[in-house]
């Protein structure tokens, strides 16, 4: 049984209330940092833990914190990014719904480490119940003296506010989030300057994912070195994975980084295999924006090693034969799923969510969606595949924020690994409307690479 750090007490009735959370040992980390540690000690501990950002990019959290500028007389802010809207990812919502105090405890610890006296939790507007839950949790913590002025007699003041977003995926991009938090239109800013220098209201700001912030609690409780023992290489600790798709037991799982993908999909402890006795065709391992991989590449890397749930192993082979950890939105497709249709669906999402600020993303995402729709509905042409490839290539890397890249990668990966299926759609338009391409050769073991 894998160790649980974030979801340890998930099954305790009433864990969302302050009393029960406290009885289970909650807010120990706050007491520990306020009474025995200096802010720099906390940053050092998080650095030692090797914690990497859980929001998608995987940037080391401790390093991000140490980049924060600390000019005199200017407030610093911690902003928690709860604008989770990536298709396939729902881990933060789970955490906020069921253990809101874990996030609050992490917020207090992190704010103390950064010297922030006002912190914000920016939550996606659609998650109204979670916003209410967090607000109630803040009230409870405040009543118990864990928030407000002079917390636990340490002289440290902190206020936490919950800010609902207005339902835009782009506001999960950190600078767009800050714009939105300031009450402006949620357009990503042009970097530099980075938020660590000039973020919210022009002040130094750190933006962290919900799960990253919550993970600071076990790091403080057990020590950074203890946390770093879990996992392998530079992927340390545990990670929440939100598994969805054609699985026997979809849901949110806390895994030790380093678990093999095969075990995650097929073992009874986790997803329990593919639903209805079907076979696995493809997996999107980290939310809709990361490249999709066929079964033979997701279970084994191109070198024939077993693929593990770590930042490095999932990215093994680059985007040619690998993918990315992303935000942990694990989507499994069985043999009856159509990759073309799925790619079109993802494109539709990015077209809808592009902010429209810079040209390649604004125009290119819509174009890709239309071409994919044309192929999916049986009106495609073989030259359309080349066209799609060309469009995605010209969006990627030419935009202000990573949304352009996120829109381009799934299309690129689908064409790279599933070109046969696209061609079948184009060459057999009538079949494509009535049945699916099926598993084909996508689960066949790969021929070993001869170097």
């Amino acid at each position: 049984m894998a160790r649980k750090l974030l979801l340890t007490h998930i099954d305790v009735p009433g864990i969302q209330t302050f009393e029960v959370y406290r009885q289970q040992g909650g807010y120990r980390a706050v007491e520990k940092v306020l009474k025995t540690m200096s802010p720099d000690d906390v940053v050092e501990e998080v650095k030692k833990s090797g914690l990497r950002g859980r929001g998608g990019a995987g940037f080391p959290t401790g390093m991000k914190w140490s980049f924060l500028a600390k000019p005199e007389g200017v407030p610093r802010y911690l902003v928690c990014n709860g604008d989770e809207s990536e298709p396939g990812t729902f881990k933060d919502r789970f955490l906020m719904t069921h253990i809101p105090h874990a996030l609050l405890e992490g917020m207090i610890v992190s704010s103390y480490a950064l010297g922030a006296h006002t912190s914000y939790i920016y939550v996606r507007g659609e998650m109204m119940p979670q916003i209410r839950i967090l607000e109630r949790a803040i009230q409870e913590a405040k009543a118990a003296g864990f928030l407000g002025n002079n917390i636990l007699g340490s002289g440290y003041d902190l206020e936490i506010y919950v800010q609902p977003g207005a339902g835009a995926y782009i506001c999960g991009e950190e600078t767009a989030l800050l714009e939105s938090l300031e009450g402006k239109r949620g357009n990503p800013r042009i970097k530099p300057p980075f938020p660590a220098i000039a973020g919210l209201y022009g002040c130094p700001t750190v933006v962290n994912n919900v799960e990253s912030i919550a993970a600071t609690v076990p790091i403080i409780n057990d020590g950074g070195e203890e946390y770093a023992k879990i996992g392998i290489e530079r992927s340390t600790g545990t990670k929440l994975i939100s598994a969805s798709g054609n699985l026997v037991k979809p849901g949110v799982y806390e895994i030790d980084l380093g678990l093999s993908v095969e075990e995650f999909i097929y073992s009874d402890e986790y997803c329990g295999g593919i639903a209805n006795g079907k076979r696995l065709k493809a997996v999107v391992p980290g939310g809709s924006s990361v490249p999709i991989l066929p079964t033979n590449l997701i279970l084994k890397t191109a070198n024939g090693n077993s693929r593990l749930m770590t930042y490095e192993s999932l990215a093994d082979g680059g985007f040619q034969t690998g993918s990315s950890m992303g935000s942990g939105g694990f989507i499994a497709f069985d043999e009856d799923q159509c990759i073309v249709r799925n790619t079109w669906n993802f494109s539709r999402f990015y077209h809808h969510e592009s902010c429209g600020q810079c040209s390649p993303c604004r125009e290119g995402t819509g174009w890709m969606e239309k071409v994919l729709h044309k192929i999916e509905t049986g009106h495609g042409d073989l030259s359309d595949i080349e066209l799609l490839w060309d469009i995605q290539r010209r969006i990627e890397g030419n935009t202000i924020c990573p949304l352009g890249d996120a829109a381009a990668w799934p299309v690129a990966a689908a064409i790279r690994h599933f070109r046969d299926e696209f061609e079948w759609h184009i060459n057999h338009p009538e079949d494509a409307l009535t049945r699916n391409y099926g598993l084909a050769h996508y689960a066949d073991p790969l021929a070993p690479i001869v170097s």
Binding site: A168, I170, R185, I190, H351, H352, E353, S354, C355, G356, Q357, C358, S359, P360, R362, E363, G364, T365, G366, W367, K370, L387, R394, G397, N398, T399, I400
Partner: protein, 337 residues
Amino acid sequence: MAEEIKLKVSIDGIPIEVASGTTILNAARQIGGDIVPPAMCYYSKLEGTGGKCRTCLVKVSKGSDKDPRPMPKLVASCRTTVMDGMEVENITSPDVVDARKAIVEMLLINHPLDCPICDQAGECKLQDLGFEHGSAQTRYEFDRRTFERIDIGEKIQLHMNRCILCYRCVFVADQITDKRVHGIIGRGDHAEISTYIQNVVDNDFSGNVIDVCPVGALTDRTFRFKNRVWFTKPVDAHRDCPTCSGKVTLWYKGADVIRVTARKDEFGEVEEFICNTCRYDKKETRDWKLEEPTPISDQSVIASNHYTRFNPPAVIENDPVLQEQNLEQLARTEKLK
């Protein structure tokens, strides 16, 4: 005064020294010529513009003397400041040329390409860009997004179909007028410029949004369909205006002033913003003190009607045989009407 620190930078191999804090685009503009990246959204007179259209992307092949690593991606030259020893590739880099071509193609997929009936034709940045970097055929085969055209204010018409969402008009309204009542509504390719619940744009300086618009999305209703710009003759003029500098360009057709705009420099940016009174209400020559014909680049279509006189060598003027042989050239000495 301490001597200003100058940074060495080379763009397409041409070295120049610029003040610290200069962007790559402005450094290129100081060099001038073909190596200046095109800019659709950047406007040097407006703070915060740039970075959006991505037409000015360049490749930084050497970051600086201190850190010579190249930048991993193409960067927007209008928002990237130069470092000492930086080496930039613009038209010498195939990647940049290809990316620019891609941007032009994407900018044009939802553009109606109605240049034949567009007032901006002839002085349109997108037209120039399409001419220089676009391909003759589009690969886009779907319906273009369309909007109804609306009048935002008494004198300005908005053709949203033509808009490339450069945000310049929003910045103008933010920075030179008191109260902005128009902005971007919606997102993605269905984003549009619009006003706040049927508010009309009504401000002494609102007309400047027409001048900053790089395309024909915002047009002057007093000039709509009056004439093609290349049939008009621009003349610099000024008047004592209580609200603005009063320095303008008058666009003549015959003896009539049919349009007044601010004076624009070689990059299409206005020198000084002008007020609406100068722009809309003073359309008589007697309102103005004329200065001189506006210098127009001979590359511009506006110059096509202003051939410099063919200046025949004295020997031709005196020799009927040579005059006979040079009939064609001599015909050019007569101006087109």
